[in-house]
Symmetry: C2
């Protein structure tokens, strides 16, 4: 019978007990001026005592502000996103915003649903890294059309879109990685990466090609693989790649999971890394440094991306109701090659 809890959870209830009006309670709670110090402390005491907590729905309905930001990521477990989540959450938390983390699981359908839900809950802004397969970004329109600012990062719209865009320099990253392999004497380089549909893989492919052609190396069609970058898919491609000679002397993988899979495959086949085969990954996932040999990769500086997102977001939220026109900033964060034992 403990179900009957003291239903002291509205501003009205507190007002009644203290013989005040709800308006006064609200003013105290929002630090408005023109409230007598005596009543203020009386109210605070009662609020404390009954454990009152503001109903965010009622408040948000009235003020048209939720103090919460939606975040859509493909998978929370991916290194870059996990890093970014942590930093963004801390950054926003100190400013009184809370982060609603959502996972699209790389499904466009889910991403659509999440846009709808986030709009329905009237978040103040949305941060998003899209699905690998999102080419049509129109499901984000419900947000932008209704004045909900959107910030894309990492996986961003390829075509112009009214949103802030923060990305890594994928072109240069791939260029650096490929050039590194070429400098080491590699002549036949295989490329296993994501479908060139998402900006990150379009750019990485372009960077790869640039380095190859610049060095007059052939781009062999049979050595280019595009698919979702998980271990299973990687193994399939690797099998195809080593079905018949000549073998490539290097692999540039679109992410570290694929690079690690390549390493495992090489070990099984008795191919020496880096002796016979050099491998470069992408993202500087911590996993790339715990395997033997450790894998050369490209650092994307997720912390810098995250901080940039927070900065831009706070700027946008500040100018929210002012007449300042929203600028759709585009920022590219530089990358860095991390040389390890696999090359």
């Amino acid at each position: 019978m403990k179900k009957k809890f003291t239903r002291k959870n509205s501003i009205q209830d507190i007002a009644e007990v203290l013989q005040l009006s709800a308006a006064t309670i609200s003013r105290v709670l929002n630090n408005h001026p023109h409230v007598h110090e005596t009543t203020r402390s009386k109210v605070m005491a009662m609020v404390e005592q009954v454990g009152y907590k503001r109903n965010a729905m009622a408040s948000g309905l009235r003020t048209n502000k939720t103090n919460s930001i939606g975040l859509i990521v493909p998978k929370v477990s991916m290194y870059i996103h996990a890093e970014i989540i942590t930093i963004i959450q801390n950054g926003l938390h100190t400013q009184g915003y809370n982060l609603i983390i959502c996972q699209s699981n790389d499904s466009v359908e889910m991403e659509k649903d999440l846009c709808q839900t986030l709009y329905a809950s009237r978040v103040d802004a949305v941060i998003a890294a899209s699905t690998l397969f999102t080419t049509d970004f129109s499901h984000f329109d419900i947000l932008t059309d209704n004045n909900v600012p959107v910030i894309f990062y990492d996986r961003v719209p390829v075509d112009p879109y009214p949103a802030c865009i923060i990305r890594g320099d994928d072109f240069h990253g791939a260029y650096l990685a490929t050039s590194h392999l070429i400098e080491l004497g590699c002549k036949s380089i295989a490329y296993i990466s994501g479908p060139p549909v998402s900006n990150i893989y379009i750019d990485r492919l372009a960077g790869f090609k640039k380095a190859m052609t610049q060095n007059r190396l052939p781009i062999v069609k049979e050595w280019l693989f595009y698919h979702e970058l998980d271990a299973d898919n990687a193994r399939k491609s690797l099998h195809r790649l080593f079905e018949s000679k000549p073998y490539p002397d290097a692999i540039f993988a679109g992410n570290d999971v694929t690079a690690i899979a390549a390493l495992g495959f090489a070990r099984e086949k008795g191919i020496a890394v880096p002796g016979e085969l050099k491998i470069v990954g992408y993202s500087n996932d911590p996993r790339s440094s715990i395997v033997t040999p450790s894998i050369t990769t490209v650092d994307q500086f997720p912390a810098r991306i995250a901080n940039q997102i927070v900065t831009e977001l706070l700027k946008i939220l500040e100018n929210r109701n002012s007449d300042v026109d929203i600028e759709y900033t585009q920022v590219t964060i530089p990358v860095q090659l991390i040389r390890r034992m696999s090359t």
Copy 2:
């Protein structure tokens, strides 16, 4: 000047256009009976046309139901939680609930804040894996006191708490792991694990001790280490452990990150694994299988935990307003030893 969007985003606006009352629109949207087919389709068409989306705040305020579930995890990047997030989200999504993922970052303060925020947004229920340092669970009271059901998993309250509890069999897992090492002939086993404050580490410690004493092996105090289980802390403990002989012949690590750190340390010191030193981890993190040698570990079956959570949650939400008394189910999911090359 595109700021002036057609403000057709309330039920009232649609009602006005169609010369109907808001009530009717609402009834259509909620599939209520007693609405003429003609009007129903007229309304649906208009809703579609103007891209109307229900305001979750207004709806929630009225119905006292948000259709969203809060989830608090220490870190979204941890393998077990990442797995569980994905499964829970999918499970709830099909039932029309959406998941609000929050990360406490293993900070008790943040966890407290998250409880407050989730209560403020009046989620229908909360799922939580606590901080490593949460011994006092009273900040969850704001939820339970106000009839918000709470389900704990993995890291759960040690003392009785009015919530559903779903946990892995940490005691048995540690017992299995330690017994396995003993069966392989290990006599001096070091234990590096989390502070025995959180249930998972209390239980794992107990399981370790049980196996040791059962086999009349001494538990050496200097070989027991308790701290947050990241790579840096692990290395410190390993240094202490191998400061002077005699060296242990096995290490049971509280998680796979620590086990991997031990592996790296052993390689640096030229200690052969599994020859001179055997290593067992915990969690069956995918990382434990990509290192060389691959690491023996304990699988916690995160998918089973997640499915159990979904089942319990839906049961609770179904009985929400019925007079059925809430049962605080306690479920323990079995574990399994995964033997690999490190032992």
